[in-house]
Symmetry: C2
Subunit: 442 residues, 2 copies
């Protein structure tokens, strides 16, 4: 019998591997050595291994971490401002004035820390961001120990961080240099949206992304007014518009996709373009519901994101997954739409595929050791007849007790190891008072 | 200066009184004497009163408890069975076979206890139920100390508890006798639904309810197929059908109302019929979305319920309120639809109005002492710019730390005082294994 020397050992009630055959192991053990899963299988005796750390998750489920596939970490400081407003009012009357006044590297760093606390606590291990002053976002993510795709938002107009798109590309180049050796932090190219840029900008972005060999992203077809504006201005839908720029020939990730024509969906399918669905933000802003069922029928890969805490107002991927599963049942008037296993994959494994991570997104020997632990012993999860249904329809964010990323314990027994929770919250509360004062005096 | 002798004193960060003028008290004190609020106002010094119990809620909000305005407590034992099925499949393939095998007073009692644990933990202080073997429900509620309207479901066919409607009325009569002196438990008359009864049954129910002077309720217009069946069978919409029976002349509370014509809404408005909206269950079962905005425009009073944990799969009114606020924004494509203060009232104060409780549903001197305490110091609530927005868009069920009903502490510091949580959960887990075995062997 093999004897293991491990760094971390976890005894789990269930392991949801989320591999291709959807392996479920009841009463299993996971061993982690360095950054990888060394053993994933049935329960080992304590005599079969030694491990530096031991985690008892016998009443819990272990599965890949949630992947928050689209969010703006800095905006958490504006959580709850501008509620009950549409996207364009929310941006123009609340978010952009706030960013004009407050968006600087210190604020972005603090907002990112707040977002990271919330995401870690709710089991998110990987995040795709779009912000200004991305170096400050990266600093917060590096300290937290999460995986990330970081995007500096490019506009045709000056942003709080960059005077021009050209300035933005220089900023991205310096990010690429800074994170070239990072295991956890990746850089991609983010054009904000069609209505804040122009076709030439997407064309230039496609050229740069090809040159740098990086992924690209943009908010596309989020609102009806964007769709109508695009048709009026360019005689093209937003998807047709960006297709004409060549950006879909890069590894492009489309965010939102609420307003898509049938032929838009075909374009996305033909070009293998994944879509990041942000159900709660789209609901909150009254934008509409992404046609997820039609996308899935056309084999478009769909992932989930929370968008920012200022249009949600939460960063829990658990809640996002639960909302997605229910929203499309009511939109389609079909209770079998987005069944539980599909919702779970959208929130986890699909993210790792969409962002092209290697050896990630499943709990499998020799894969990178990223996992979360979700307790299922609390009132609202009892009884449990199927663990996936329990997670998707009953569990709460607070049920997440542990998070490991790249073999490192980020949270244990609900305690965040890598960040100073108390200190960050104190600074956020103080900053909240300053922001409230600004809003009052406007 | 007045000196108070109180039973319970609470220092609160915020008090949301939910009275007509929406009074918000920052840094307030509440005193409770016997079953009533003795003082509600600005912070008192500790020298201004003596109190047997003291609760420090200085980083929390105090407000009326959630009112779960429609649920089936016994069904929590089936939580997670029959997921991703439509209402009619869910009933016929899963719930009714389960009830045929398992529905007896012991099971109903255990299921109700499980539901009560979950509802107490998430801040619900009053509940309207529809079940079989209602005496077992009542026993669980009396032990828990919650307010309730209890309804024994009447079908045209035999039920697990009653051989015939006549048998059902006798059962209701005995309930009325049993609870005639109760401060907390009330009985109302529940006809299951048009498709499980007939017009004569509603007519008879109207007669009995008038005779007994009690409220009435029924699941009406929940699915499209019910709406179509009613039109085909009776050439009437479900609302027109029950209107023709005279039941709307009683104090009738309509549950669901997903499929309503414009003239149905007028009928409800003209007859002052309130509607209990169950957004998550209607989403889960793919039934559709109640036209809440149209109901509100016609001055119909709308409340919220979770429906059962088997079609939700949760009994948190916090989640229900949050979903309602977001669902109607996306259905109406209008971010201002169901703004936060309205969502909060639907989940709380409206329930007390709809069920015609006196001196309840607001935090006001001399009103009955029902209140919940919600902590707002955790990561996901920071910063907080408006306490109502925080509750409706950011808070989690776990933020509820305390519950007082009729001057009695039901939960303190997240510990349920009135029920034996561990024992109930153990019995539920065992029963879950038996139910799983039955489902496997079918």
């Amino acid at each position: 019998m093999e004897f293991f020397k491990a760094d971390i050992a976890i005894d789990a009630g269930y392991i949801l591997c989320l591999d291709e055959s959807a392996t479920q192991i009841e009463d299993g053990t996971i061993l982690i050595k360095n950054n990888n899963f060394q053993y994933v299988g049935s329960r080992l005796d304590r005599g079969q291994y030694i491990a530096t750390d031991y985690i008892d998750a016998k009443t819990s489920v272990v599965l890949p971490p949630f992947y928050n596939q689209h969010t703006h970490p800095s905006l958490s400081l504006y959580r709850g401002l501008g509620v009950d407003l549409s996207l364009h009012d929310w941006l123009q009357k609340v978010i952009w004035p706030l960013e004009k006044r407050f968006c600087n590297p210190e604020m972005v760093y603090l907002g990112s820390q707040l977002s990271l606390l919330e995401m870690i606590r709710s089991g998110t291990g990987a995040v795709a961001t779009m912000d200004f002053h991305t170096k400050a976002v990266g600093k917060a993510f590096e300290e937290a120990g999460l995986r990330a795709y970081l995007g500096e938002a490019i506009f045709k107009t000056p942003t709080p961080a960059c005077q021009s798109p050209e300035d933005g590309y220089k900023y991205i180049e310096s990010l690429l240099t800074e994170y070239s050796d990072s295991d956890l932090i990746h850089i991609y190219l983010a054009i904000h949206a069609p209505f804040t840029s122009n076709p030439a900008l997407y064309k230039e972005a496609a050229k740069r992304a090809t040159q740098w060999d990086i992924l690209t992203t943009s908010h596309i077809a989020e609102t009806k007014s964007e769709f109508e504006w695009s048709q009026k201005t360019y005689r093209k839908t937003p998807v047709e518009l960006i297709e004409s720029t060549g950006i879909l020939d890069t590894d492009f990730i489309l965010v939102h996709g609420v307003h898509l024509s049938d032929s838009d969906i075909k374009i996305l399918s033909n070009n293998d373009i994944p879509v990041i669905h942000n159900p709660q933000s789209n609901m909150f802003l009254g934008s509409g519901a992404c046609p997820v069922s039609s996308l899935l029928e056309q084999n478009v890969l769909v992932g989930l994101g929370t968008d920012s805490a200022a249009s949600n107002n939460n960063l829990s991927m658990m809640r996002e997954m639960q909302t997605a599963a229910k929203l499309h049942k009511v939109i389609q008037k079909d209770a079998s739409s987005i069944p539980a296993p599909q919702a779970l994959r959208m929130a986890t494994a699909n993210g790792y595929r969409i962002y092209r991570h290697k050896l990630l997104g499943q709990i499998t020997k020799d894969y990178k050791a990223d996992m979360q632990i979700i307790e299922t012993a609390d009132i609202h999860n009892i009884p449990s007849y199927d663990i996936t249904s329990t997670l998707v329809y009953s569990s709460h964010s607070e049920d997440v007790t542990g998070l490991i990323v790249n073999g490192k314990i980020i949270m244990k027994d609900r305690e965040i190891i890598t960040l100073d929770e108390g200190g960050i919250l104190d600074r956020c509360k103080k900053m909240g008072l300053e922001i409230a004062q600004f809003m009052k005096n406007r």
